[in-house]
Amino acid sequence: MARLAAALAAFALLSGPWVARRRLSLGRSIGVLGFVGLSAAAWVALESELRAPRLDAVRAALGAVAWGLFALGWGGFPGRTHLPEDDPHALLAARLPPRDRLSVGLGLAFSALLVTALALPLLAWRVERAGVALLAHAAALAGSVALLSVGSRVLLTAKAVARGAAPRLWLWLFVFWFGAGVFVWLS
């Protein structure tokens, strides 16, 4: 079953570019979706043969390089960049100065945020158990992205002075969760 899927995947890989010469979208579908889907089917059919201890290191490395070449093969180089200033209708003027500058403290805080967001996925490598390690990597990556997104907005966007009642739903849930944790810890 795995051999059949692998052979079909190779056929899709080779026939995709040939079909794409006449029908681009169909060729891409065969060459990209067909090849990846049939490769996935081959991996599923291999079952336990795909476990890390059974893999040949050289073949695995060659496979990684080949997947990289596959991704590059279906890409394309960007066309020549057009500068807006080259347009004959462009209004050329001096550069506008920034309206505000970040303070040193905010710069340092943003650097700390960046380091923390980068450190979270690295922490996940401490987890050695197979199933839990995957959860740790997923949680660390999601936490890192969320931290960077919310943290950069908190630090860098301009704010007004708070007037009126701020929304408190998540804040109350946060306080409730903290209280529940303290209660469980004390009891």
């Binding site: 905010l106 805080a109 949680a139 660390a140 936490g143 919310v150 943290g151 708070a162 701020a166 946060f174």
Partner: protein
């Protein structure tokens, strides 16, 4: 408009960073319940910070 970060939002983000870090750290130590508590703690803290940031940015 003042370009200065809100102190409560910053505190919430800081708390979230510490909680998420400790949550992932606890997963390595084998205490899944503790890890889950701190990961949820971090997520709620981030959600509260995001909520407050949106409120202040909309003023």
């Amino acid at each position: 408009m003042a370009r200065s970060a809100d102190a409560i939002s910053m505190l919430l983000v800081l708390t979230a960073a510490a909680a998420l870090g400790y949550g992932v750290w606890s997963l390595a130590d084998g205490s899944e319940a503790v890890a889950l508590y701190w990961l949820v703690f971090g997520a709620l803290s981030l959600a509260a910070a995001s909520d407050r940031e949106r409120f202040l940015a909309a003023r």
